[in-house]
Subunit: 443 residues, 2 copies
Amino acid sequence: MSDTPRRPGDNTQGNRLDPWFDAYAERAHNLRASEIRALFSVVSRPEVVSLAGGMPNLKDLPLPRLADTAHKLILDHGAQALQYGSGQGWEILRDQLVDVMTYDGITGADPDDIVVTTGSQQALDLMAELFIDAGDVVLAESPSYVGALGCFRARQADVVHVDLDEDGLVPESLEHTIRGLKAQGRAVKFLYTIPNFQNPAGVTLSEERRPIIADICLREHVLILEDNPYGLLGFDSDPLPALKSYSPEGVVYLGSVSKMFAPGMRIGWAFAPHAIRDKLILASEAAILSPTMFGQMFLSQYLADYDWYGQVKSFRSMYHERCEAMLGALAEYMPDCSWTTPSGGFYTWVRLPDGLDAKSMLPRAVKAQVAYVSGTAFYYDGRGADHMRLSFCFPSPEEIREGVRRLASVVNAEKDLVEMFGAGFVPLDGHHDGPATPSSSAH
Amino acid sequence: MSDTPRRPGDNTQGNRLDPWFDAYAERAHNLRASEIRALFSVVSRPEVVSLAGGMPNLKDLPLPRLADTAHKLILDHGAQALQYGSGQGWEILRDQLVDVMTYDGITGADPDDIVVTTGSQQALDLMAELFIDAGDVVLAESPSYVGALGCFRARQADVVHVDLDEDGLVPESLEHTIRGLKAQGRAVKFLYTIPNFQNPAGVTLSEERRPIIADICLREHVLILEDNPYGLLGFDSDPLPALKSYSPEGVVYLGSVSKMFAPGMRIGWAFAPHAIRDKLILASEAAILSPTMFGQMFLSQYLADYDWYGQVKSFRSMYHERCEAMLGALAEYMPDCSWTTPSGGFYTWVRLPDGLDAKSMLPRAVKAQVAYVSGTAFYYDGRGADHMRLSFCFPSPEEIREGVRRLASVVNAEKDLVEMFGAGFVPLDGHHDGPATPSSSAH
């Protein structure tokens, strides 16, 4: 995988093999395969325990009943469900999403300020499209979600990371960073943040810090893009109030049903200040015309007729059990590492012993039949090689224990080498006799 | 509806009411509501005959059987259908789309060069994203699809229209336009074309012209973006060979099931030269992560288990009958107009008598309970007021006749005024006592 994005005029292989290379927009040269995507081919092998993916575990969904719901939807309302809908999203679903957001402390939301999107990823992409000119600054946690960084990179943003600790985004670091950037005359377009069970760090913004973060951004006139896919998945508790609840005009809130229900219909939403919502609708219509009507109506039935919050609670215990399995295995097998202790969500963020490099270690881990994501994926600035993201959402508790055990053997072998020969020894990709490095192509 | 896109720094109302106005990217100021979108609130009134929309007519789909298919899909494969999929799209569906494209004369397509998208609109948007820098030229037919013009406008393209006649795009005009632009040093990024049953003009590129158009673009190194949503809906015949079949490396072909099956799952695809396909996948992952797995599997079942081409043939006769109803009514009620004679698709393009303005006439048509789209929507350069697009896809033949009858009364009244007072008389929006002009907001 190349670390340096290809620039126009580079005399690279792509240039010679692609007859249309000279025609791409400048921004297209900023696209590159994410480190997570490169793992797709690996994690599909049954013998590999993947602690890499962020796929929700759907095994507890009531499939027979959901099958009946889909049946009835097409039988009774097929001509509507299979038709185009409005670009903004179905009115009835938007009313229901207002209710969903009350769990995040957002009350009195106007359904007219909601835009339904193709997963919250599309809302992220539309926000990048609407706000980022080349060279603009976006603030993000340190580390931050790889899929958001990809959107920002595609618009040629300069992502500046703000410190994160066990209580989430650090207010002093945020304020200091904004002021420093402003002093340099830089345009800071927004702060991108995942307050709850952050991806990849697994930490949650404390209740005390929430109004402080909202205030800093309001005072400094920096819009907040609050991404909340995991919010309902706290192991022991309902969510803390969203930043949106503290600063209705200063926050664009992104919701998703991918983790609290299922991602297969691709439904997310943005809840935005009215003027931004206007532009989001126009941009979404240009991008997809309208979100899936079938998916929206199916979700609407699910929210109306099922005990969806009871299902969320059952997901919580399942993920809690898996998280416990992971933290227990880490304590047992990898005492030389340190990690965050999530109170919800899908991930823990593991710091490797000094001198180890998560990115160059990955091929050896895959050879040992375990996968993770190198911390480098979650930074815009090359940091992160001392960390890895481990996800506990998909494998069973037994698989998680076995995965961590395998990973520990790789880490220990690596540590031995570093102790014997120094950090510089660790061989680079391609200089070892393991299996091929996961390809950065889409195959 | 404003004709002039808002520019940064304009001291407009939006500036004062939107606290984030100063933060938008430059491209965001190019977004505006399409003239079609502005009609949505109007066409939903039951008393209005809408000849405006492009919604396919789904009444003949076998809903009970489709309901069973959805049921079985969730019951047997729910954990896969409700999960994330790959960014490129499901392999099994891509194999089937290769077969669908053989009807367009595309043989031996590699399914690995197909990217499944959220309707072909997303593929259009990704192509704009990948290729258009501000100020770049995109060539399009004269007139062209409003939704494509919106994508190009959002990337600050300069769309240059190329002549279209009853046999489609005029090769001499294409060559002349490209050479003229090149002589000015302009970057021509691609030709956007709808060869079959063009939207809005209803004309089809003749078989003779197809290799000529492909050759001109290859010789001039101009990529072709071939949009083919209506290709299978020729009234009397299978499709002519796609441009892609003449120039595999010079064409990105866009397919859609929205018109040959149904739009409600939002499934389209791009079939692209390999290097462009690489970038399309990356851009699509940044935009939506992955297309709907449920939608893809549902479509796959439909293509595998149903006589889908038989269904296409039944759609053909239905649309043919409606087209006949429209052309008959035009001949009977509007002899002073002229129009194209479609051999498939959804639309005819009607030229008004001299002096009439389709855009300013629209409120009076809506008052008379009939809707159409003003020709101005389909141009980037302000032309088109002498035309309107009439669609025959959705209303019944009886409704179509009644709609044209109502429209004729409006046209005739308008003509009387013009003959009495001259073209300058026709009052502008807001200077008459009819119902409010359809709002350009999303309500």
